[in-house]
């Protein structure tokens, strides 16, 4: 029942958290230049990537996003001088945390897209969408829940597969928001 090797034919939900000054404007430019890209992305505008709390990313994954993009100004171009540096640092730490809890980091991308880079916006969004499409729907939270259950059986000889398929677990999973 593992997801990795199945060919997925689904429309991934991609959420992009972007800053107003560079990436949002870059996406605008892609629009005015009539460049085409997959329609899977939903853009949330922030003043600065510095405003983006990692909790938003977690919540987005929880709410069914299959991929999350965080994008802002190139280093040195931040409208607020250093917001993107703080963001970069914060996300480096956050990625490590995600990795630790078992979320596939290929689902979360950080990028610099300037107001002049309409083409880059298209590339970044297209790439992420296609990558996530091959990865399949976001299963990690489900698995996370399993892991938690496993730990209660750690050291015992309980067969994990039966635990995973237990009705209690299914119920527990279904009750997650």
């Amino acid at each position: 029942m593992h997801a990795e090797h199945i060919k997925h034919d689904f429309e991934p939900k991609i959420v992009a958290f972007v800053c107003t000054w560079c990436t949002y404007a870059g996406a605008d430019l892609a629009g005015t230049s009539r460049m085409q890209y997959p329609s899977n992305v939903r853009v949330l505008k922030f003043p600065c990537t510095g405003r983006i709390d990692p909790v938003f990313i977690l919540r987005a994954f929880q709410k069914g996003a299959d991929g999350v993009l965080v994008s802002g100004c190139h280093p040195g171009d931040c409208h607020y001088m250093a917001g993107n540096f703080h963001a970069r640092r914060r996300f480096a730490a956050f990625r490590a945390l995600l990795n630790f809890v078992g979320v596939d980091l290929n689902r979360l991308q950080f990028s610099w897209v300037s107001a002049a880079e309409g083409g880059k916006w298209v590339d970044v969004v297209t790439e992420l969408t296609e990558r996530v499409r091959t990865m399949g729907p976001m299963p990690e939270f489900k698995e996370l829940e399993h892991e938690e259950q496993w730990s209660t059986f750690a050291g015992t000889s309980v067969d994990k597969s039966t635990v995973l398929n237990s009705p209690e677990l299914k119920e527990a999973y279904d009750s997650i928001g």
């Binding site: 939900k13 959420v15 107003t20 949002y24 404007a25 996406a27 605008d28 892609a30 629009g31 005015t32 009539r34 460049m35 085409q36 890209y37 329609s39 939903r42 853009v43 949330l44 505008k45 922030f46 003043p47 600065c48 510095g50 405003r51 983006i52 709390d53 990692p54 938003f56 919540r59 987005a60 709410k63 069914g64 996003a65 409208h79 607020y80 001088m81 250093a82 917001g83 703080h86 963001a87 914060r90 298209v122």
Partner: protein, 665 residues
């Protein structure tokens, strides 16, 4: 918010061609809390805006979403319309279904589905929106200008002539900057001092200008409209109020052999001195490092001969605090000098040019002093080593500039022109002499500039050689210059009596430190960064601080003066109102939850976060909390994402708003 109105725009065909706008409007109408929804051909048109205003009144809407183009295009338009209808403008938002949807997706079903989603997200944002009131800050109508070169002088005079008080701070003993050092100036060859010194005198005499020379900026607090600047007045050892500028002290000073900085170290000056005869103010200063009195306690000649008793060895550095509303930074440039590689200079040095060991290799500014009537040679071109008139002079352009491999990739902008000028000045003074110029390109954009350059080449007999110099060395009393002529494809060797290097224009020493005090940004070379390379070339990203002259990048005098006047105009615009209105998207602290860790303070690039004491009725300190100064806050929200106790929030982008949008995904 329970009565939201959604207006879906066709944008002619731009949106409706790929997005089924009727369906989007219908779906929007079904979102709980949406009291009204419609679609319309051109929302931004007059009838479109009227439609919005009427709907607000008729349906008692308390929030508005316009699904149309990018908010970067029309957010202001619709916020104004909403305001006219009696709504708070910040309760009006835009959903971008053109740039982010119809224009980039051809598939009508997909695009329509996406447009519906975007509208759904944004309705949540409107629902959780708050009314925001514009922030007003009082403006102190007094300006500070840092640097007294032509840039600072021009800016100070313009602002002062407009009737505002100006404080001009110059770190040298006199104002004037580099322009005062120049001999004649391109492209007209008029005498620099003749046009400069009257302006310097104007500054000193202007009733609205307070001039502090030999002073530096110690500390800058506050924000646009309300800066408090601490200025350090270095001890001159001469009381400015008593000194008459007679100059007796200078003639009697026994220490006379100190290289004069103004003459690029070529003339000599005493330990008590004015940098040059036309200095403003004409008050001497004692160079304590070279003064016998200060070094060994014996001498005191100047104090004895000073009639008005102005010499004061006990004088101390003093500080004053100046309240100003705007700051113009005009600290200018320095030249990379081949015999004095400044510490931390990005340029790697020119060992192949006999790095600083050959006395007759000089820089452009030294040549200016040699050519200047007020210079160390009285305007005669004589070479430093033996005072002989050089008959063959080699000029080398782009020394350090445009040399990526040496560490600087930018063009110093003035060298092509001043080298052409130098060849002319030389030719006018040494009729039988020959000038050679090694150059790679001639860059002479500017009114009358190319004509000027051609004159140097075509009429004034300078020999221009396109190519690089590979090596220079001393042979007897000559300097052998070995280079290539890439047009002819040969090696050339010239026996020169004097070599003049057009060395790179670099920012002043300490430019980075000053930027840190001011909270403005600078590039990797330490030139100050403008807020926008094209549209805001005189503003800094930090509100209320403006740039003028070569501190921002290499510039000639006309460009410097233009920018200085532009900066002055910006200051005057700021001073035109008593109160400043600014965007209310700023952070606020919830003092109840703030634990006073000041993590926010560390990340705020604007220095907007202050420490505030909370006291009980008896006046005992309860705790310290963060306070965001709304006048300073740039509105990035970095503090909010950093705050571990979630006690700081950016208006307009609250957690509640963003979470609601994510919920609606």
């Amino acid at each position: 918010m329970s009565r939201i109105g959604v207006f879906v725009c066709h944008c002619g065909e731009n949106i409706s061609r790929t997005v089924d706008v009727e369906q989007v409007a219908k779906a929007a109408g079904e979102i709980p809390g949406v009291a009204y929804s419609c679609d319309y051909k051109y929302m931004c048109s007059d009838p479109g805006q009227t439609l919005l205003k009427k709907a607000v009144a008729e349906h008692k809407l308390d929030g508005v979403l316009v699904a149309a183009c990018s908010p970067r295009m029309h957010e202001k338009t619709f916020r104004k319309a909403a305001e006219a209808a009696g709504l708070n403008p910040y309760l009006c938002e835009m959903a971008n279904i053109r740039e982010h949807c119809s224009w980039v997706h051809e598939d009508r079903d997909m695009a329509t589905a996406k447009a519906k989603d975007i509208v759904k997200l944004m309705v949540e944002r409107v629902r959780k929106g708050k009314s925001l009131a514009p922030i007003t800050v009082p403006v102190t109508k007094r300006a500070l200008v840092i640097g007294g070169g032509i840039a600072g002088i021009q800016a100070a005079l313009d602002v002062a002539d407009a009737g505002h008080q100006v404080v001009l701070v110059e770190r040298d003993p006199s104002i004037g900057g580099h322009m005062a050092q120049l001999s004649e100036t391109f492209p007209t060859l008029d005498c620099s001092q003749c046009i400069m010194t009257p302006k310097m005198v104007d500054v000193a005499n202007h009733p609205n200008i307070t001039l502090y020379t030999y002073s530096e900026i110690e500390k800058v607090d506050g924000y646009i409209g309300n800066f408090q600047v601490t200025v350090k007045h270095k001890a001159r050892s001469v009381d400015e109020s008593k000194c008459t500028g007679c100059g007796v002290c200078m003639t009697k000073c026994p220490k006379k052999k100190i290289p004069n900085e103004f003459d690029q170290g070529h003339g000599m000056r005493p330990a008590i001195y004015v940098p040059f005869p036309q200095a403003v103010p004409n008050t001497p200063v004692i160079d304590r490092e070279n003064c016998t009195m200060f070094q060994s306690g014996k001498c005191g000649v100047c104090a004895k001969v000073c009639g008005p008793g102005a010499v004061d060895y006990e004088q101390k550095d003093t500080l004053t605090v100046e309240d100003v509303g705007a700051i113009v930074v005009a600290t200018g440039f320095k030249l990379y000098t081949i015999d004095r590689k400044p510490e931390g200079s990005p340029i790697q040095g020119y060992g192949e040019f006999g790095y600083g060991t050959i006395p007759d290799i000089i820089d452009g500014m030294t040549f200016e002093r040699l050519a200047s009537a007020s210079g160390p040679t009285g305007g005669k071109i004589l070479r430093p080593s033996d005072g002989k008139e050089p008959k063959q002079v080699v000029f080398i352009q782009c020394v350090g500039s445009r040399a990526r491999e040496k560490g600087i990739s930018y063009c110093s902008k003035v060298c092509c022109m001043y080298t052409a000028k130098h060849t002319m000045l030389y030719h006018h003074k040494v009729h039988d002499g020959q000038a050679y110029v090694f150059f790679m390109d001639a860059r002479t954009p500017g009114k009358g500039y190319d004509e000027f350059w051609r004159r140097a080449v075509e009429e004034e007999e300078a020999v221009y050689i396109r190519g690089m110099v590979s090596r220079m060395y001393q042979r007897g009393d000559k300097i052998v210059v070995m280079g290539s002529d890439i047009q002819v494809g040969t090696q050339v060797e010239i026996e020169a009596d004097l070599v003049v290097l057009a060395t790179a224009v670099q920012p002043q020493d300490g430019a980075d430190l000053l930027a840190q005090k001011l909270g403005i940004s600078y590039d990797k070379y330490n030139f100050y960064s403008e807020a926008h390379a094209k549209l805001k070339p005189v503003e800094c990203a930090t509100a209320g601080i403006y740039l003028a002259g070569a501190c921002q990048g290499p510039k000639d005098i006309p460009d410097t003066v233009s920018q200085a006047s532009a900066a002055a105009a910006k200051v005057m615009t700021l001073f035109a109102k008593d109160k400043l209105e600014r965007d209310p998207v700023v952070a606020k602290v919830n003092e109840k939850y703030c634990v006073g860790c000041f993590a926010c303070k560390k990340v705020c690039a604007y220095g907007a976060i202050e420490e505030k004491e909370i006291r009980d009725r008896q006046g005992n300190l309860v705790k310290k909390v963060a306070y965001v100064n709304p006048g300073v806050c740039g509105g990035c929200g970095t503090c909010q994402a950093t705050c571990p106790s979630k006690s700081i929030e950016l208006d307009g982008y609250t957690d509640e708003q963003i979470m609601a949008m994510i919920e609606a995904l």
